[in-house]
């Protein structure tokens, strides 16, 4: 801890045990108490138990949506982040365009847009490609498959994941760009003066240092995407929030349904926060 215990003890008029008590992380106790109370309610109370049994079916989907979209977002973000720093005019401008446009549109609008505009457009283009392949007799089997693809064959969850990944990719691009820029220019110069190519100096010198810088903001964004995955409930993807809403609509037990949903999110985010913290510590090195 950054707080020096000696300074606290010097405070006049306070017994030593008061200092110890004021340092105790009380908030963790409160969180634990809430957890215990809700767990007790789920076991003991019929309505809480029913709410939990129904809502828990969404946990897997929530975790799946968050994990996959964040992984894709990291790749998109790294590509666009490097692009933003590239000396290649076309690459750089495409990256900036992506970041600025996506960051300026609410995620909920993007979700609707990807699900109901982009996905159908892509499918119809694939149909056109399939028709063309059939007509010109190239890879006829694949062509007929492409020609008969229907937008209904693209599950909402996939459209939701794609949209969330695109949205978060723009945030991660800025994180990566800032992380790379935070590494002194002398590092690149030393690497290049040893004869390393631009790619090699990125791969061996800059990125390994930048990754330590970007770990905390990336961890934050991972927790963020887990919470924002609740937005995909508007596409009727059966994740936690959607299951909570369904239960509420079925039973009018709002307190139990939403309470269970909130506590489950809290358990997930706190676990993640803990994991991120320990990962940061493992990656840390003496500066």
């Amino acid at each position: 801890m950054a707080i020096n215990p000696d300074i606290r003890r010097q405070r006049p008029g306070l017994a030593p045990w008061v200092g110890d008590l004021s340092r105790f992380p009380w908030w963790i106790l409160v969180v634990l108490l809430i957890g215990i109370a809700v767990t007790y309610a789920i076991i003991d109370n019929r309505f809480w138990g029913e709410a939990y049994d129904f809502v828990k079916l969404g946990i897997k989907i929530t975790v799946k949506v968050s994990l996959i979209s964040f992984t894709v977002a990291l790749s998109l973000g790294l590509l666009a982040g490097l692009g933003g720093l590239s000396s290649n005019m076309i690459y750089r401008n495409f990256s900036m365009l992506y970041v600025q446009v996506i960051r300026g549109i609410p995620i909920i609008v993007q979700l609707y847009f990807v699900a109901f505009v982009i996905a159908p457009t892509v499918v119809s283009q694939i149909n056109n490609l399939g028709d063309w392949m059939l007509a010109s007799g190239i890879l006829v089997n694949l062509g007929s498959g492409l020609a008969n693809l229907h937008i209904r064959d693209v599950p909402m969850i996939n459209r939701a994941i794609a949209s969330l990944a695109i949205a978060y990719g723009a945030f991660e691009a800025e994180v990566f760009r800032a992380g790379i820029q935070s590494i002194e220019r002398g590092q690149t110069e030393a690497a290049r003066s040893l004869g390393m190519s631009h790619f090699q100096s990125m791969r061996y010198i800059i990125l390994p240092q930048a990754i330590r810088v970007v770990m905390p903001p990336l961890g934050n964004d991972f927790i963020s995407i887990l919470k924002d995955s609740s937005l995909v409930s508007i596409l009727a993807v059966r994740e936690l929030t959607h299951m909570g809403q369904l239960h509420r609509a079925r039973t009018f037990r709002s307190w139990e349904a939403l309470g269970t949903v909130a506590v489950l999110y809290l358990m997930l985010t706190l676990t993640l926060a803990f994991l991120v913290k320990s990962m940061e510590r493992r990656l840390a090195f003496e500066k």
């Binding site: 002398g186 590092q187 110069e189 030393a190 690497a191 003066s193 040893l194 004869g195 390393m196």
Partner: protein, 253 residues
């Protein structure tokens, strides 16, 4: 100060022909021409902001020049077809602020470029690294991270890292300017050894003691121009230009 065999081959390994470089409005180098012979120790000195570091950085293309011609070991740097990375691996560079890689241990700092640029095996790279660490006098520091070293030790590792590529030329950009006074000597001794072994060196520095001991040629650079060039120590004993006299009287007293 060097063995005769390295002087027998007296062709120019670095040729700067009328080079100029500006940063925006500021003219850093104005029409500078100079040559460095194989095995020569060339000492560049002069007031801060006079273009010394820029000139050095142009030699391995860390700065691009606006006009003029640079030829290093027979290869035109200014030719767009030139593979800059290949030239850079032949030219070692030592920086004022060391620029060691903080995420790698001392040994890895020295072996990385050997492996990825020179394509040496791990074993061979390690052998070279251990030999060089012995040569710069800190074999016991192989397994520590750079931030656990003193300034003088860092700079010696930086020199070992550059030497590991078996460069034909070593460039030193104010190698002792960021060091505490008691650490300057240990770095200079490594540099003196290198000079004795016949390494071609271009040194930008304020260490007049090193110049007296090792320089084959001294160049006084001020306001982006070469004011005066002298063979060996003659510039100390017999400076011709007033600008040089004033500067020398300031740094030597």
């Amino acid at each position: 100060m060097k063995n005769s065999s390295s002087l027998s081959n007296s062709d120019d390994i670095i040729i700067l022909d009328n080079i100029s470089k500006s940063f925006g409005e500021v003219k850093a180098i104005i029409d500078v021409s100079m040559n460095v012979k194989r095995g020569e120790v060339c000492f560049i000195f002069g007031p801060s902001g006079g273009g010394k570091s820029t000139l050095l950085r142009c030699i391995n293309h860390l700065e691009t020049i606006d006009s003029g011609k640079i030829v290093v070991d027979g290869i035109h740097l200014t030719d767009s077809k030139t593979d800059i990375n290949r030239i850079r691996s032949e030219v070692g560079m030592v920086f004022q602020l060391f620029n060691l890689f903080p995420h790698l241990k001392v040994l890895e700092n020295i072996t990385l470029a050997q492996k990825v640029v020179r394509k040496r095996s791990r074993k061979e790279a390690l052998e070279v690294a251990h030999t060089l660490l012995k040569r710069v006098g800190i074999p016991e520091k192989a397994d520590v991270f750079p931030n656990q070293l003193s300034g003088g030790q860092k700079q010696r590792v930086a020199i070992a890292r550059a030497l590991a590529m078996n460069p034909k030329i070593m460039l030193f950009d104010e190698p002792t300017s960021a060091l505490d006074p008691e650490m300057i000597q240990e770095v200079l001794e490594v540099m003196l050894d290198l000079a004795k072994e016949g390494m071609t060196m271009v040194v930008v520095s304020h260490e007049m003691g090193f110049a007296k001991a090792a320089a084959d040629r001294m160049i006084f650079l001020s306001d982006g121009k070469i004011v005066e060039t002298g063979i060996g120590k003659e510039i100390f004993t017999n400076p011709k230009k007033d600008r040089t006299k004033v500067f020398l009287s300031q740094v030597l007293n």
